[in-house]
């Protein structure tokens, strides 16, 4: 018999895990935590930017997932389902934790003259940012810049630009108005541009 291709094997393994999950089999669930926990931890770290909170959120997410296993749709992917639960657990954690002091962003936001023109000329980047991030150190700098954004901006940026949720869904998940989502998204992108700009000029 021909050996299964790795992609087929992974899909079969995921189906196997999904079956175990629906049946409430603790051994299957432990395999699920091992298989997807790292990815979920990366997601909650990104949103919460705090190791302890990120670990708590992953734990909350797995407990929610285990309790809701009966609602898992047999046609869905375990990874997608868990990813969504992890994002929601991180957002919940973010809403309940004490607000942290946020660093002022004025230095990284664009400034304008009284007449409304850009106050200083921009230095063109050496190469497009999405190409520059192919280098590990530049990618790391961009990830650090995202982590540096204040919670209120980072979360909206992650929901909209990274998770691909729309304005309405982001507003509902965060308990803010769609208009606030739009304003925060714009401010987050402006701030991120300012934070990564020095790395784009040193790219070569």
């Amino acid at each position: 018999m021909a050996e299964r291709a790795p992609a087929d094997a992974a899909a079969a393994d995921e189906q196997d895990l999904a079956r175990g999950l629906r049946e409430g089999d603790p051994t299957a669930f432990e395999r699920i935590v091992r298989a997807y926990g790292g990815r979920m931890l990366a997601v909650t770290r990104r949103i919460l930017h705090d190791e302890e909170d990120a670990r708590d959120a992953v734990q909350d997410a797995f407990i929610s997932a285990f309790k809701a296993r009966g609602q898992f749709n047999a046609d869905a992917r375990v990874s997608t389902w868990l990813h969504r639960i992890a994002v929601n657990a991180a957002l919940m954690k973010l809403r309940t934790r004490r607000r942290r002091p946020e660093a002022p962003l004025d230095e990284v936001l664009p400034s304008f003259t009284e007449a409304g023109r850009h106050a200083s000329p921009f230095v063109a980047w050496d190469e497009p940012a999405d190409v520059a991030v192919e280098r590990q150190e530049t990618a790391e700098a961009v990830r650090e810049a995202i982590a540096e954004l204040p919670d209120s901006l980072r979360t909206v940026l992650l929901m909209r630009d990274i998770e691909g949720r729309d304005t309405e869904a982001t507003a509902r998940a965060m308990g803010i108005t769609p208009n606030a989502v739009k304003m925060r998204l714009h401010r987050a992108r402006l701030a991120l541009r300012g934070l990564i700009a020095p790395h784009m000029r040193e790219a070569r």
Binding site: P26, F29, E30, V33, R34, G37, G38, R39, L41, A42, R45, R46, R55, V58, Q59, F62, I63, F66, K67, P110, F112, A115, G116, R117, H118, P121, F122, A124, W125, P128, A129, D130, A132, V133, A139, V142, R143, I146, L157, L158, D161, I162, K182, L185, H186, R189, L190, L192, R193, I196, A197, M200
Partner: protein, 81 residues
């Protein structure tokens, strides 16, 4: 339209959400303002770069899952009703 105003429209412009009249003014401003053209390009690249570095396989997702967290999760699940 000033550069300050044009900057406020960037998100709606990229989402193709600008009303026709504003879009015309925005594009007329871009055509005569090299600063805003550079800024728009960098703003757009920033969004793409953020997506890329957070995409699966381009992230710190391959780190081993902490064994103590696994133990805590399994204990919590076994204790849950």
């Amino acid at each position: 339209m000033t550069c300050r105003e044009a900057t406020e429209f960037l998100t709606d412009y990229l989402a193709r959400d600008l009303p026709a009249a504003v879009l015309r003014e925005f594009e007329a401003h871009l055509a005569r303002c090299p600063e805003c053209r550079t800024f728009l390009s960098q703003y757009d690249q920033t969004i793409r770069a953020g997506r890329r570095v957070c995409a699966e396989g381009h992230d710190d997702v391959l780190t081993d899952f902490p064994e103590d967290l696994l133990t805590a999760i399994m204990a919590a699940i076994k204790a849950s009703p």
